[in-house]
Subunit: 276 residues, 2 copies
């Protein structure tokens, strides 16, 4: 898997808690090395109480070029960044950071863009669509923002926790106004349905939306990577919908993350800001 | 080179400044994976002013199992260890640490043992020999201790800096008495000669000892890895001496380091102490 590992190898770390489930270290490493970089990404398991001191100390590591953060460290990574993309600022969270010229961190949040890219890759449309998003947590917020930035006509947000749902809607409405609205579990009237809840990871989970109301004009995407084809996606395929899996989202994320780490992605997609 | 890299991969780091020259990350990684461990060692470039904060923060990384330190961090690694082998205590320095059961670090200094092992592997003898050691720096001190522990009859220490030479001799004499003495660049009367100075890395360097006084009854070893066969070793071979290279020392070190990291080496070779 690794062609190069020596004293000149550039480091990238993925911080998380727990860590065993993460897939990016081998994926990012392979892509970086395929592109000719002597670089590696390794998993770093750190608990929330220790993450700030670790991030401060890691900043002094001279061969450390990048950091990916997964749950629950996306807020901490954002806090440690000197500069960030506008979407990271809106969400107050970042899943990735690279060095600025002065050694400080520039952060971005690529989770939502990864889903938006994956939907288009699988033949789905976003621009002008009426979308239903299930899940107003960290992944849901990032996806909501990217769907709005990619031009959905309307975005209805549904969550079993009304407080969390309304808080996300209120934040997005400040920027996107009435394009954002309260949704229900009923996808009727929408033509893009995205699940950003954990429902579907366990066999006994309820479906995140009313799958019996899915129709062939809808495109259905899911963030869950295990199982690859969730019960929601099974129902969507039976109903004749186009679909995208969480694995497809992850594959899109890999490319976006490596582009970002090499300094390309944010130049194309982010609205950088010089200071917080 | 790496068969395994995923979210369950156990981490080891090599800290140094500079870092580009280090060889252990690929060597240790290969050996760990050959022995069936899902583990990797990566280079971490940190400057002296930042190393204490980094070592403290790294202690909180739950999947970090081991640390190797190279110049100038061997003293810092020793300071951060809760327990250490007797040879690390004597030298006040450590090149390697692994976790104790409570998560604290247990340190050892394997540099000298690596040279002693390499000499024996190459057919040299240590027990009962009369040794001349050139170089009273960090590597020299570690090698001196291991040669004495391995039973040299006498150890003469030579250094172009008399203060450094005498300080090392004084420390060793506290434990080994008159077996330790002041040496000169003249190897006459010795049958084991070890270079622990940098002399020989550059073509214009003077020889570390008087090579014209080498005789076939002497065994000559060198810590320098680049060039593999130093001018001193070339002269020794012309004189009919047995020799061992710095690369041979490094190969011995790899095995010792991986044994230590897996919890085996110090049980065999170190005199552990419970507290500092």
């Amino acid at each position: 898997m690794l062609d190069h590992l020596d004293g000149r190898t550039r480091l990238h770390v993925l911080i998380g808690h727990p860590i065993a489930q993460v897939k990016s270290p081998p994926g990012v490493t392979r892509l970086l090395q395929q592109r000719g970089h002597n670089a590696v990404m390794v998993p770093v398991h750190v608990e929330p109480g220790d993450v700030d001191a670790l991030l401060s100390a890691l900043s002094t590591v001279r061969n450390l070029d990048g950091i990916i953060a997964t749950v629950p460290h996306k807020f901490a990574l954002y806090r440690h960044a000197a500069t960030a993309s506008s979407r990271a600022h809106v969400l107050g969270a970042a899943n990735i950071a690279r060095r600025n010229n002065d050694g400080s961190w520039h952060a971005d949040m690529l989770d939502g863009l990864s889903m938006a890219t994956a939907i288009v890759t699988a033949g789905g449309r976003i621009d002008g669509q009426r979308a239903l998003l299930a899940g107003a947590g960290g992944a849901g917020g990032a996806i909501a923002l990217s769907l709005l930035e990619a031009g959905v006509e309307r975005l209805a947000i549904y969550d079993i926790d009304p407080g969390r749902r309304d808080a996300l809607i209120a934040r997005l409405q400040m920027r996107f106004g009435t394009r954002v609205e309260v949704g229900t579990a009923d996808p009727s009237g929408c033509n893009l349905v995205v699940n950003a809840t954990p429902a579907g990871m366990q066999p006994a989970d309820p479906l995140p939306v009313m799958a019996e109301r899915l129709t062939p004009d809808m495109f259905v995407a899911d963030v869950i990577t295990e199982p690859v084809v969730t019960p929601l996606l099974q129902a969507a395929r039976r109903a004749g919908c186009g679909t995208q899996t969480g694995v497809g989202m992850y594959e899109a994320a890999l490319d976006l993350m490596v582009d970002f780490l090499r300094g390309a992605a944010s130049d194309l997609t982010a609205h950088d800001s010089g200071a917080r």
